[in-house]
Structure formats: structure tokens, C-alpha cells
């Protein structure tokens, strides 16, 4: 790595672009992007435009509010800048970025927007957007991720998606999809809106459902506060509970090894693969929700989720040539089962709810990481319940049949827990099991009966939970070949193929957002009309006019 790796770990005292303020049940997330604070050199973050660094802070704030502030029931996103809300992703940054950085950037910002919606829908932290000026492109998309949009009615403040007319690309954070699928904007209205660079304001913006309320600018702060306070009052979050603080995730990077408390990552550059070895719990779970609260981030499921999440983000952004993630675990499946039982028992507790939702999001992050995922279920592993989801998320899984000669590790076993049957839906809205067995929905009900039983390789194979079950004689070769074969294919082809196969079943807003981003946007990003020497994205800011290849493909 020539450049310093991008670090996703931050906290409010280190924010450069956002201010987080709490007033009663309302949190105010105020955007005030530091022009000089770009993640990389070469561009200025003017007019509250953002790069990955800005979004890392936003994602951190969204996450912290959930865990650290049970008393917060509404979150306001607003701008510090006069007459500018947010002008979206910084164009010069995009122009300077490699394709993979652009895609990674878009993916992460999409995950942040979805995390915002997840908080609104499932955590009782409803997001409200207060637009005091221009909300362009990604700025309006940020608003779209909120549940309610207030727009200053000053004849100037406008919302817009100018990507197509100005840059010959598409909005990269779900803007088009959310317009028609979330806000139910009529397609003809959306068509006009998305081809009008300056966007819409005032009455028409509201009539066309682009915003929810128009407020005179002098009343905007007051009206926002009022709505936010009413929203917070309606929230089911416990007003008197105490949050848990999220300290910095601890990790040591030592050459090609990254050590977390509950996870070790070993990078094999020859095989272009990273082995992610997950460590199961060392001790029995605490008694109840109160005890979980006491443990805080040391509580194993939460600690592991944080380790895993950080590792995935790190590998995605900083290890782009490591195309295969080999997923392994070690530990006591019975203990994992006990933790799952605790999570299920205390499901109504706000903190437990947050931990389960966090696992849901982290597993989805795994689903969309555009890496080949190969799970290895070996003797001494603990792929039970929540951890079994990792095996189910893999493109392919290998389970060692029986014990290994000369080793005293117990034979590999898989175990289903109630957490496999609804707690962790994929982006398509189905569980990984339901997605896996679309051909026989009844099979999932059959599997329910297997809950809690240790399944050896033969049983797991029969249940359809693993792909191959070599014995100890074949194991090393089979696994090596699978990984090496993977490394030989075209990364682009693999990403496309894997994504096509992973998300069977129904479309949701979320699957559409990712699928269309990776299909349409990535295609358009590569086309000369956008990024060729005379393409619109390339020439933006130079004053030169793009020349389009007029053929419709």
C-alpha cells in the first residue's frame, strides 16, 4: 500500500465536517464541511460537498446515536452553511479517483443512507431533513434517505438531481430509486426533475412529492425543532435508559496480519485471498439485558460485529486486489448458541435490538462486498446460529467431513438457532435460508425442526447448508484449488456473476439500489460519454463541452 490506509474509525471529537448536538430527545447532525479537509489531496470540498471522509463521520454519528443515545428519538440533518444544504459528492474528487475508489465510495455512502433508514424504521430514531438552501445530487439523496423533508420556501432553495444533465452519469446513492419507490414520485414528474439541472423549489417541489413541507426560512429552525420534538416524543425508545459508549475498535496491523480481539485477518497476496478467522466466545453469556449493558462493547456479539465490520471496510477500500475472502471460525458452538438464545430472549430490550440490527447490517455489508466469499467449516469451528449466517452468505462452502488425523479438535458441526429464521434478512427482505431454498420454501420449515441440533458434514450436506464436504485427505487440495481457481478469473466477471447469484428472490428498494448502482452506474461511469477524454464528468469544471457518442446502446 503506497498511501496510508483509509481508517474508518472515528468519533465526534475528531469530526472535521459534522457537528453533533443533542437537545432533549432530538439529535442535530449539522453539516459544515471543511473545504480543506478532503481525504486525499487535489480537491477542495466546496459548498458542503463530500468525499468518503465526510461520509465516514456521518456513518459514525448514525451508529453512535443508536448505541450511545437511547434517549434520542429523532435526528435532524441540516447544514451550517448559509443558503447551501449540501451539493453532493465532490466532482473533482470523483474525477481524480480510480474507478474502484468511486465504486467503493458509492457503496459505502449507500450503506450509510440505508443505515439511516434502518434507524428510522427499526430503531425508533427517525431522521428529518431540514433544507435551508441548495440540495443538489448527493445532497438531495441524503435528504431522500430521511423520512421527512422540510424545504425553505425562499424562492431560491431547491432540490435537484443534476447528474444526468451536468455530468452524464446517474445519482450514485439511490436517488432515482428512492424518488419512485420511496417517495412515490410520478415517473413523468421524476423524468422532468432528473433532467433539470437546477431542480425544483417551492410549491412544485412539494406538489410533486419531492419534499414534504415548505417553510419560510425565518421559521425553518423553529419548525424543524417542533416537528423533531414531536417525532421524538412518539418514539418507542426508552427515554431513561443509559447508552453504551463505543470506544475505538482496537486492531493491530502487522504486515499482512490484522489482529482484532475476536477476529484475525491474514492476507495471502499470492492467492489474492484474505482469511478471516472469527473467534467464538470464550465464556458463557451474561444473564440478561442488564448484564449485557454492563459489559457494553465487550459483549461478545457486539465486539465481534464491530471487529468484522471494520475488517470488511478496511479490506474493501485498502486491499482491493485481495479478491477472495475465506471465512473461518474457531470456538465452541454451544457457547454461540447460548449467546443467540440470550439475544432471542431479550429481543425487546433496546440495546439487544440494536446489536441484532447491527449484525443484520454487517451481514448485508458482507453480501455486497464484491469479493468472492468462500466459507471453510473445519474441525474446532463454531458456525452456529448468527455465525452460520456467514456460511450462508458465502458463494461456496466447504465442510470437512470427520476429524483430522492426528488432531484433537472436534469434528466440524453446524447448528441452526432461532436467529437463522428472521433476525437477519438480506437486502431482498428474505432470510439467507429462504433465499437459499427458493425452490422449496417448505424446506425452511423442515430445517426449523433441526434448530439446536449439531449437524455433521453429512447432515449439513443433506440439509443443503454446505456445498462440498471433503474429508481430511482431500481437504487441503480441494480448498487450495477453489481459492486459486478463483484468483485466476476476471475480477469484474466474478463481481457481476456473484451479485447476480446472491440476490435471488424478490426485488426491494435496497436490492434495486445496489443492483442498479453496480450495473447502470458502473457501466455509465466507464463509458466515454462520462469518463472519456471528452466526457462530461471528465470535462466538468474546465468549461469545455463534452462531446457525446450519440449511438444508443
Amino acid at each position: 500500500m503506497a498511501e496510508a490506509p483509509i481508517d474508518f474509525r472515528t468519533s465526534p471529537e475528531h469530526y472535521r465536517h459534522w457537528k453533533l448536538a443533542l437537545e432533549g430527545g432530538v439529535a442535530y447532525l449539522t453539516m459544515d464541511v471543511n473545504e480543506e479537509g478532503g481525504l486525499k489531496p487535489g480537491y477542495k470540498l466546496k459548498l458542503n460537498s463530500y468525499d468518503l471522509g465526510v461520509d465516514i463521520e456521518l456513518a459514525d454519528a448514525v451508529q453512535r446515536l443508536r448505541f450511545e443515545h437511547p434517549e434520542i428519538g429523532a435526528v435532524v440533518i441540516r447544514s451550517q452553511r448559509d443558503r447551501v444544504f449540501c451539493s453532493g459528492a465532490n466532482i473533482n474528487m470523483l474525477g481524480l479517483s480510480s474507478h474502484d475508489h468511486k465504486v467503493n465510495f458509492c457503496k459505502f455512502t449507500n450503506e450509510t443512507r440505508l443505515a439511516i433508514e434502518d434507524a428510522s424504521h427499526h430503531s425508533g430514531q427517525r431522521y428529518i431533513c431540514s433544507i435551508n438552501g441548495i440540495a443538489a445530487g448527493g445532497g438531495y439523496e441524503l435528504a431522500l434517505a430521511c423520512e421527512e423533508i422540510l424545504l425553505a420556501d425562499d424562492g431560491n432553495s431547491a432540490v435537484s438531481l443534476p447528474e444526468l444533465p451536468l455530468l452524464a452519469v446517474l445519482p450514485g446513492t439511490g436517488g432515482l430509486t428512492r424518488l419512485v419507490d420511496k417517495r412515490l414520485v410520478r415517473r413523468d414528474h421524476a423524468d422532468f426533475f432528473c433532467t433539470t439541472a437546477e431542480g425544483l423549489r417551492g410549491k412544485r417541489a412539494r406538489e410533486w412529492r419531492l419534499v414534504d413541507r415548505l417553510v419560510p426560512p425565518s421559521k425553518l429552525a423553529e419548525e424543524t425543532k417542533k416537528i423533531a420534538e414531536e417525532t421524538a416524543a412518539r418514539s418507542a425508545r426508552p427515554k431513561n435508559a443509559k447508552g453504551i459508549t463505543l470506544p475505538r475498535v482496537d486492531r493491530q496491523i502487522d504486515g499482512d496480519t490484522i489482529r482484532y480481539a475476536h477476529l484475525t485477518v491474514e492476507i495471502d497476496r499470492g492467492q489474492r485471498a484474505a482469511r478471516l478467522r472469527i473467534m467464538g466466545p470464550c465464556a458463557a453469556p451474561p444473564a440478561d439485558a442488564a448484564a449485557i449493558q454492563t459489559q457494553g462493547t465487550a459483549f461478545w456479539p457486539l465486539a465481534l460485529a464491530r471487529d468484522l465490520d471494520d475488517a470488511m471496510m478496511h479490506l474493501r477500500l485498502n486491499e482491493t486486489e485481495i479478491g477472495t475472502w475465506v471465512l473461518q471460525s474457531q470456538g465452541d458452538g454451544a457457547l454461540v448458541e447460548a449467546y443467540d438464545a440470550l439475544l432471542a430472549r431479550e429481543a425487546s430490550n433496546w440495546l439487544v435490538k440494536e446489536i441484532v440490527l447491527y449484525w443484520k447490517r454487517s451481514l448485508k455489508r458482507l453480501d455486497v462486498s464484491s469479493r468472492s466469499l468462500i466459507a471453510l467449516v473445519e474441525p474446532g469451528s463454531c458456525f452456529t446460529g448468527t455465525l452460520l449466517e456467514i456460511v450462508l452468505a458465502a458463494d461456496r462452502s466447504y465442510m470437512l467431513d470427520g476429524a483430522v488425523e492426528g488432531s484433537n479438535l472436534p469434528a466440524a458441526m453446524l447448528r441452526l438457532t432461532p436467529m437463522n429464521f428472521g433476525a437477519y434478512p438480506m437486502g431482498n427482505g428474505l432470510t439467507r435460508l429462504a433465499t437459499r431454498f427458493l425452490y422449496d420454501p417448505g424446506h425452511v420449515d423442515e430445517l426449523r425442526k433441526e434448530t439446536g441440533k449439531p449437524l455433521d458434514a453429512e447432515a449439513a450436506d443433506a440439509a443443503g447448508l454446505v456445498t462440498f464436504t471433503p474429508d481430511d485427505i482431500d481437504w487441503d487440495d480441494e480448498v487450495r484449488l477453489a481459492i486459486e481457481e478463483r484468483a485466476g478469473f476476471s475480477p469484474d466477471g466474478l463481481i457481476g456473476m456473484e451479485a447476480n447469484l446472491r440476490f435471488a428472490g424478490p426485488e426491494t428498494m435496497e436490492t434495486k439500489i445496489f443492483a442498479r448502482l453496480s450495473a447502470w452506474q458502473n457501466w455509465i461511469f466507464q463509458r466515454p460519454n462520462a469518463t472519456g477524454p471528452e466526457g462530461a464528468l471528465k470535462l466538468y469544471g474546465t468549461g469545455k463541452q463534452s462531446k457525446y457518442d450519440r449511438k444508443r446502446a
Partner: protein, 472 residues
């Protein structure tokens, strides 16, 4: 009801046979008159004012003088004569015939430019609406009203373009221009400088000299537009804008002249003690208005300006007289810019520096009037020189925004700035003093307030005691 449009609305755009335009204006005109009554010059509806009205674009038609009640002023629609062979002079479309209709892909760009320009016109009328109460003479009062009705006509010119070429969106934008008001916290005017108050006549003269001159340069670059109706509109507006700057230049000049007279007459430097406006205060007002007006040119490096140029929408000042390729693909331009807290020269692509170039043209033009003002001071034998401050002084927009820079271009610490700000920009005390001079309007023909000299000659060569405004 049949309306005689050519009588009511003097025009050279064939209004009487354009039904679409008639329909649009029928709707808009009453709203404009309501706006004029509510937001135009305060309490002036019954005045008969000796105004110039343009009734055609030829040399006889554009300057018709006579007494008019302002709400009955015939705001006309005039475009400079059409040159059938006119070509786009610059950018990617250089050499192609100019557009008589809006090209689809430039629709929103052109609309935005026209709206931004148009919005400034009623804004300044609103800013100046109370000045009539403290006019230093009938001559000045009449000039104020002339400026006001012409700003109104400029609004008409832009509204005409919106109505004639931009369909429903254009009509909505035209209405919005009457809904936004200068300084209204809920519906402010688009550009910052047009939301500031014009509280006194010194400010008014400075505004017409400096801020209307920005208008001149914006209009001049729009007069180069490939969209011919816009170019022709702006060309005609420029003839009127020249009068506004004349009001500003002579206004400031007459105050300076009076100040010098008072200094000599009373043999004192302390002009305030004898009821004049001291030279230091004049300099401070100039510093303020000049720097605020510089901001109107926008960012030093501007993508929008570059796009406008390449697209053929907005050219440079006197584009066709510039000796270069008029494409600027590889040309460079040297600008002053801020780097690590210093002001440095930097060579940048000429296309992105078009705002700065226009600002430079403007600064040079501003300097000419300053020379004439200094002649007045010099002739009086007083050792004082009015100076334009450095372009980086007191800026709110662009690379120097937020920096502390002295009028002579030195980067200062916050402490240095705070210690000296009152020497460079009008203080509350200065403003209070200038306000204190603004007595009740001087309404006797031929009389002038104590702090300003009479003009060298009357409007339309009228006698010194001509009754420019009849109050009825």
C-alpha cells in the same frame, strides 16, 4: 377588452400580434403595478416627474422627456436592432449564426442567467424606496426616480425574455421576481449585495457608481450572448445603465467638490464641523461599496463562467474587440489568489478565470472615475487622493473570503484588522453622521442640501431652477 399594447407598452417586439406574449403580460402587468405601489418609491404615486421614456430604439426615440406619474410610466420592451448576419463570436459554437430561439440544452442555463440578472433590477428599486424623503434637491430626486423607473424597465426586459421564450417556467420565474424582496428574510433577493439597505444618499451614489457598474459588465457580457434576443435586450439596457453610473459618478463628485469648497472656505480639515462629508468618510464608503460590488463577480475560478463561455451563452467584455482565438481551450490567465494565507499570482486556465477577467475589466473602469474625482480634489488644492482598495480587501466571496487584508493588499492578523477596521470601513459613528445630514427633502427648485454641490448642467439642458418634480 381590446388593449392598445403599442400605446400602453412601447415596444419593438411586435407585441400587438403576439398572443402568447399578450396573455403573459396581461397577467403580469397588474402584479408589477401592485409591486411598484407596495415596494417602489414610497409615497410618490401622485408626483409628476420629469422623466425620460424610451419609445423606440433610434436616437430620437430613446430619450423622450416629459412629466409622468410614475405608476403611469410606459415601461417598454426594446431590443437593440437585429443584425441578420450576427454570428456567435466565441466558444464551441463560434462562427455559427446566433440563436433566435433558446436551444433546448441551454434552456435552464439561460433561464438562470436571465433570472439572476432580472432579480437585481427590482431589488435596487426596493433598496432605494425611502431615499426620496431625504433628497438633497429636486434634480437628485428626479435622477433617483429615473434610475428607479429604468430599473423597472430592465425588469420588464428580462420578464419579456422569460415570457417570450421560456413557457410556463418563464412565467413562474417572472412572478417570483415580484415575490422576492430585498432584505426579506423569508424571500430574499438572489444576490447578497441586493439585500443590503441603501440608507442614505452617499450610499446611493456609491451604489450607482460601483454596483450598477457591475450591472454594466454583466449586461455587456450578456450582450455578447449567442441567444440573440438576450444580447439585443442587454445592448439596449446598457444605454440606460450608463445614466445610472453618471448619477453615481457626478453624485460622488459633487459631494467631493462641496467638501473641498467647505475645507477651503473655512480653512479647516474638520469638514464635519461645517456640515460636510469629510474625505476620510468618502474613502471608507468607497472601500465598502467597491469591495461588496467585487463580490458580485463570483468565484475567481468558476466552472459556470467557463461553461457559459464555451456554450456561447455569455462572453467577455467587448468580446469581439479582443485579439485572441475566442475559444481559449489552451489559454491561460494570471490571477491573484490566496495560498496558505498569502496573496500570490497564479496562472490558471483562462476559461475558468473568466469571472476574474471581467472583475479586472471592471476595476480598470472604476479607476477612471476615481481619477476624475481626484482631479476635483487636486483643483481645489487639497492634498488627498481617493484610492480604490486592493481587490482582496473585505471580500466575502471567492478565494479571499475570510482573510483579513488591508486596503493596500497586506495580509493582516485578526488583531491588526480589528485595530484598523474603523479606519477603512464606515463605522456606526460615520454612518450616524452621514444619516444626520440627510434632512427632509430639499424641494425648492434650484436649491441643494448643504453637503452637496449643484450639478454642472441640468437634465436635458434645463435651467438651474427647473422644477424636476411637482408634488401636487
Amino acid at each position: 377588452m381590446a388593449i392598445d399594447y403599442s400605446q400602453l407598452i412601447p415596444n419593438n417586439v411586435d407585441l400587438s400580434s403576439d398572443r402568447r406574449l399578450q396573455r403573459a403580460l396581461e397577467n403580469w402587468q397588474p402584479r408589477f403595478l401592485d409591486w411598484w405601489k407596495d415596494m417602489g418609491p414610497d409615497g410618490t404615486s401622485a408626483f409628476d416627474v420629469y422623466l425620460r421614456t424610451a419609445v423606440s430604439t433610434d436616437s430620437n426615440g430613446w430619450a423622450n422627456f416629459g412629466y409622468v406619474k410614475m405608476p403611469e410610466y410606459r415601461w417598454g420592451i426594446f431590443l437593440a436592432d437585429r443584425d441578420p448576419d450576427r454570428q456567435i463570436a466565441y466558444g464551441d459554437n463560434k462562427g455559427k449564426p446566433v440563436w433566435q430561439d433558446v436551444p433546448g440544452e441551454l434552456r435552464s442555463t439561460l433561464r438562470r442567467l436571465i433570472v439572476t440578472q432580472g432579480d437585481t433590477e427590482p431589488a435596487s428599486v426596493e433598496q432605494q424606496r425611502l431615499l426620496g424623503r431625504t433628497a438633497p434637491s429636486l434634480y437628485d430626486l428626479r435622477n433617483l426616480f429615473q434610475v428607479n423607473v429604468e430599473e423597472g424597465r430592465h425588469l420588464w426586459a428580462m420578464v419579456y425574455l422569460l415570457h417570450a421564450y421560456f413557457g410556463r417556467d418563464g412565467r413562474e420565474e417572472a412572478e417570483e421576481m415580484l415575490v422576492r424582496h430585498s432584505g426579506d428574510p423569508d424571500k430574499p433577493r438572489i444576490l447578497g449585495a441586493f439585500n443590503e439597505a441603501t440608507p442614505d444618499w452617499l450610499s446611493f451614489f456609491m451604489f450607482t457608481y460601483f454596483t450598477d457598474r457591475d450591472g454594466k459588465y454583466q449586461l455587456a457580457s450578456l450582450a455578447e450572448s449567442g441567444f440573440d434576443p438576450l444580447a439585443r435586450s442587454c445592448r439596449f439596457m446598457l444605454t440606460e445603465e450608463a445614466h445610472h453610473m453618471f448619477v453615481g459618478e457626478t453624485g460622488v463628485g459633487r459631494i467631493l467638490q462641496r467638501t473641498c469648497e467647505l475645507m477651503k472656505e473655512h480653512k479647516t480639515e474638520d469638514v464635519r464641523s461645517v456640515g460636510g462629508i469629510d474625505l476620510a468618510t468618502m474613502q471608507k464608503y468607497l472601500n465598502f461599496h467597491f469591495s461588496v460590488s467585487l463580490d458580485l463577480f463570483g468565484q475567481e475560478a468558476s466552472t459556470n463562467a467557463a461553461n457559459y463561455y464555451t456554450q456561447g451563452v455569455k462572453g467577455r467584455f467587448l468580446e469581439t474587440r479582443i485579439d485572441d482565438d475566442h475559444v481559449l481551450a489552451n489559454a491561460t490567465y494570471e490571477i491573484d489568489t490566496a495560498a496558505d494565507g498569502h496573496i500570490v499570482k497564479k496562472t490558471v486556465p483562462a476559461l475558468s478565470a473568466l469571472n476574474e477577467r471581467l472583475r479586472q475589466d471592471y476595476i480598470e473602469d472604476c479607476a477612471k472615475g476615481v481619477l476624475r474625482w481626484n482631479k476635483t480634489i487636486e483643483r481645489a488644492g487639497i492634498d488627498f487622493e481617493i484610492k480604490l482598495p486592493h481587490r482582496a480587501f473585505n471580500r466575502r466571496i471567492g478565494t479571499f473570503a475570510g482573510m483579513r487584508i488591508s486596503p493596500d493588499g497586506r495580509v493582516l492578523s485578526e488583531a491588526d484588522w480589528t485595530a484598523n477596521e474603523g479606519r477603512w470601513l464606515p463605522t456606526d459613528t460615520d454612518r450616524a453622521y452621514v444619516t444626520s445630514l440627510m434632512g427632509p427633502a430639499v424641494t425648492q427648485p434650484g436649491k441643494y442640501a448643504h453637503w452637496i454641490a449643484p450639478p454642472a448642467r441640468g437634465i436635458n439642458n434645463q435651467a438651474a431652477d427647473f422644477e424636476y418634480v411637482r408634488f401636487n
